[in-house]
Symmetry: C2
Subunit: 170 residues, 2 copies
Amino acid sequence: MTDLKSAESRSPASLLYLREDELRRGIELLFFGYRDFLSDADAELATLSLGRAHHRALHFIGRQPDLAVNELLTILKITKQSLGRVLKDLLARDLIEQRPGRRDRRQRLLRLTPAGEALHAQLLTRQRTRMARAFREAGPDAVAGFRKVLAGLIAEDERARVLAMIGAGN
Amino acid sequence: MTDLKSAESRSPASLLYLREDELRRGIELLFFGYRDFLSDADAELATLSLGRAHHRALHFIGRQPDLAVNELLTILKITKQSLGRVLKDLLARDLIEQRPGRRDRRQRLLRLTPAGEALHAQLLTRQRTRMARAFREAGPDAVAGFRKVLAGLIAEDERARVLAMIGAGN
DNA sequence: GATTTTAAGTCAGTCATGTTGACATATTTA
DNA sequence: TAAATATGTCAACATGACTGACTTAAAATC
């Protein structure tokens, strides 16, 4: 970091600089933390010729069985066509199954098959292990702060909906 | 979340469940927070027909002028071929420039052109604005926790190097 | 000085995952 | 009955990753 001046080397009143530097560090930490957090699951998915897109669909179907396609689209914010390809793969590999909704028979409600449950559990366990280590090492106060800041990063017009979906504790 | 039972509805001693649920919330918050954090920059990049890959290269070149290609590869952890295409685009659009290293003339040191600086500053300001709002709303203790947990998510064999690169405050 | 290693670039092909746009079908709602 | 909705599908395309093979120039080593 030869180009990044230390705070001490600058004018004493450059609080703005300190602030900008703190924000830059937060931005970069988010990049590296996110990337490495996904690496465990990525490695496992690669052995199955599946990608992140499959993982995300599997995750949200697993956590909320009988999820409708439209709900999943709202969660993932991708196009119907993109999701369609992923669901097709997961169906072909017997990781998920569909059935028409009882109230609304246009809907195709999605749920995991036993094989899908197994994979979902395996991936989630891996991710929880890494997250658990970070939580444990950081301590409960840090965990609360982590969640608070991340919640603040969510788009304002989405935040209430997302936090409600994730669960009450936020 | 019809399928997610509240903690109260379960057996009193299910601390494991509480913990698993807390970890799941952290995982999901990271997903949504990261996605929405990038959305500002993505929108701006799209107007210029640039993508995230360009943004990342621009960011790390901007923060450390005269960066060698190899250093950038180490930071981004992508292949030379992938980076090559991105750098070619950025060079063609006069956003970065190269010059041979003085000590090692095999190296091509990368730096931003004035136009690159302008774009870099514009993108960084946008991202800082969103991060600043989240930091401000969450408070300083939360910010410390946010950083602590994210640092813990970085791959162990990378952590020291990454934290050193990001800056002392972590 | 000759050989090996390193830094960088390039060509070619592939894959995963996103996009737009147009359209089809079944079902529900107005 | 007509309109809106939920889903699926075809086609074409862009981005950004990958592997593998190879070249060139310069530095480091023997």
